[in-house]
């Protein structure tokens, strides 16, 4: 009894004193500090990300990117980044902001920039209703590597799908209704996106006000979204997606988009350009499976109706090759300039073709090495049979510190194939990130 009284006195006099919870010492003061609600939040990370590119000097995209540089067999690039993210809440209003400052240095360029990824005011008059005004990402779609139905987001990088994306300036709402029965949740997300000079001007045609909406249903334990975009900056498009768990270790998902009046400038066999207009269907089906050995498999098939056929890609690579020859022999930049201009029309996308397979296999903590996850990822172009393989090692030895070593070592593909014409034969990169 006296001992208990003594402990009570100590805890009263020294509130930060370690409170022994059985064998788990729980710093009450530390925990209280962590869970104390503040009107503001502030987090971020520091990143150093050196990359060694093994250059393929015969590849078309090497010739396009580095035609005016004299490089060796490799190119070393040093990248640093600071991500800052914060919020301030007063009543029903919260102001969110996230910025990324990057600095890149290599033998051919050094540049730094700061971008505002998100910056918006969010009003939450009730748990059922949210109104957002400002720059934010919407992140529609269920695919892991691609999101054909993400009509109001920037395209994901299938080579690193978890990278943060910069948002667009929107006015958006979210209305949620929870229900009992087979339809458990319904939500509706309408948004308005203006596109003018200096506001969202990389989204599409300027001087337009675009409208988009998404309806979400949790119906029979399946996530279902239906979405649409109209307004003129891009052609009208409609889509849906779904995701569902089948059992304790398998998830299946899919995404579908119908895009009207797609305009594409393509290179004909004779080298002339032609604009074609068509309605296209992009869709994706995929699964995520966790084995009994803690191996996670992510598999996706993606059909990109808006993509370029193998022949169109081949003609594009031929344009670059002849343009490069013109530049070397005659200092004539005309064809290369055409090829650079065409990049914006879709040729510069990481996966510009029509049909792909994606497979990622990751193993949680093999050989009992805690917080270590090796993985291997492959993207395969079904038409030209070229592919990329990316082994990866992720290790977080101490809290808030993470190392990721990736090597795009095996880039395989013949002449005029998509991955065969990438500017690098291999890539070795180390990403060190410290969170605060």
């Amino acid at each position: 009894m006296k001992r208990l009284l003594a402990i009570k006195i100590i805890l009263t006099l020294f509130p930060g004193f370690v409170f022994a919870e059985g064998e788990y010492d729980l710093e009450l003061k530390d925990l209280e500090k962590q869970i104390e609600k503040k009107p503001y939040t502030f987090t971020g990370y520091l990143e150093y990300h050196p990359i060694l590119f093994g250059l393929d000097k015969n590849a078309s995209l090497y010739k396009l990117r580095y035609f005016d540089h004299s490089l060796g067999d490799t190119l070393f690039q040093s990248n640093g980044a600071v991500w800052l993210e914060g919020s301030y809440t007063k009543g029903i209003a919260t102001l969110f902001a996230a910025t990324k400052s990057t600095y890149t240095a290599s033998s051919i360029e050094s540049r730094g920039k700061t971008q505002v990824y998100t910056g918006y005011l969010s009003l939450k008059p009730s748990p059922s209703l949210t109104l957002d005004f400002g720059k934010r990402t919407m992140k529609w779609g269920k695919g892991y590597a691609w999101n054909p139905a993400a009509f109001v987001d920037r395209p994901k990088d299938p080579d690193d799908p978890e990278l943060s994306l910069e948002g667009y300036v929107v006015a958006a709402g979210d209305y949620i209704k929870s229900l009992s029965g087979n339809l458990k949740t319904f939500s509706f997300t309408p948004l308005v996106m203006p596109v003018f000079d200096n506001i969202n001007d990389d989204f599409g045609k300027i001087d337009k006000v675009n409208f988009a909406a998404k309806a979400y249903f949790l119906f029979y334990d399946t996530d279902i979204d239906v979405m649409a975009l109209a307004g003129g900056s891009k052609t009208p498009r409609y889509g849906f997606d779904f995701s569902r768990n089948i059992g304790t270790n398998l998830e299946v998902h899919g995404e579908f988009a119908y895009i009207t009046h797609v305009k594409r400038t393509v290179i004909e066999d004779n080298g002339a350009t032609r604009q074609k207009t068509f309605d296209a269907v992009n869709y994706l089906v995929g699964l995520r499976y966790l084995s009994a050995q803690d191996t996670t498999y992510i598999f996706e098939y993606y059909h990109q109706g808006t993509g370029f056929t193998s022949q169109e890609m081949k003609n594009y690579f031929s344009l670059i090759d002849t343009g490069h020859e013109d530049y070397i022999v005659r200092h004539n930049l005309r064809k290369l300039s055409r090829a650079i201009a065409l990049q914006k029309g879709g040729y510069a996308a990481f996966t510009p073709g029509t049909d792909y397979l994606y497979l990622r296999i990751s193993q949680k903590e093999p050989f009992d090495i805690l917080y270590f996850t090796p993985a291997i990822t492959s993207i395969y172009n079904l038409h030209d049979r070229s592919f990329q393989v990316t082994p990866e090692l992720l290790y977080a030895p101490i809290t808030n510190l993470e190392f990721r070593l990736r090597t795009g070592l095996l880039v395989a593909g013949s002449k005029n194939s998509e991955f065969g014409e990438k500017p690098n034969d291999y890539r070795i990169e180390l990403r060190m990130r410290y969170y605060f």
């Binding site: 059985g22 987090t43 919260t94 059922s128 209704k177 979400y216 768990n245 966790l290 917080y371 808030n400």
Partner: protein, 233 residues
């Protein structure tokens, strides 16, 4: 060695419902630390805020460390999602995955009421404890079978063995340090687990606060996941 006697006078499912009631109120919030302990004694800690409503709605928010801060999890019955602020959208996760590594999986961290997922096949008496044999109601439940030891006087679990259909042991969960959290909530403050599949590793959940609180159903929805921080008081 303790002798087991089958008990026919007790309704096992009613007993299980009472265990659920004693472990947590109908609607509540809780702060806990999830601790992964490595064989060499090194620890990794996560501070996790959870809200629960009814038998099958649970949502959680990671408060620390910085690398996990802002991540939220949601469970509605068999459906589970993880929202990572950088990724920006909720993705479906499965019950056997683990959002924190270590021995606890998602089904342990976002645990529902036992009566929601299991039926009691048999109740036996073992001295001061009951031994309940539980069977999963559906194939979507993380563990096919549970053996649950329950204190007779407090009607609280002391140990659970989680098993496959073929009765292979997956993990053992220990309930320790009964604590008065106030508001009539008296329950174990520590839930510890080890597993023959993770030799030498241990994980624990240490509950610092458990408090009755009502929430709107809309809090337990995908659309609300990025806003969970607004629930903190």
């Amino acid at each position: 060695m303790l002798l087991s006697f089958p008990v026919y006078a007790i309704d096992g499912n009613q007993l299980l419902a009472q265990i659920d009631k004693n472990m947590s109120p109908e609607s509540y919030e809780t702060y806990r630390k999830i601790i992964n302990i490595e064989p060499d004694g090194r620890k990794r800690e996560f501070t996790y805020y959870t809200v629960k409503k009814g038998r099958d709605k649970v949502a959680g928010l990671f408060i620390a460390p910085a690398s996990e801060k802002g991540r939220t999890t949601l469970r509605l019955g068999d459906n589970m999602w993880l929202y990572v602020p950088n990724v920006g959208k909720p993705v479906r996760i499965t019950s056997l995955q683990s959002v924190v590594g270590g021995v606890f999986n998602n089904a342990d961290i976002l645990a529902l009421d036992y009566a929601e997922e299991y039926t009691v096949e048999k109740v036996e008496e073992q001295g001061k404890e009951y031994l309940l044999s539980l069977k999963a109601k559906t194939k979507t439940v993380a563990y096919d079978r549970l053996k649950m030891w329950v204190q007779k006087d407090r009607v609280l679990p002391t140990k659970i063995e989680c098993m496959t259909e073929a009765s292979m042991l997956i993990k053992t969960i220990y309930f320790k340090d009964i604590k008065d959290f106030g508001g009539g909530i008296v329950r174990p403050a520590v839930i510890e687990t080890d597993s023959p599949l993770y030799k030498g590793y241990k994980s624990a959940m240490v509950f610092a606060k458990i408090k009755k609180r009502d929430f709107k159903d809309e809090v337990f929805s995908l659309t609300f996941m990025p806003n969970m921080e607004s629930l903190l008081k």
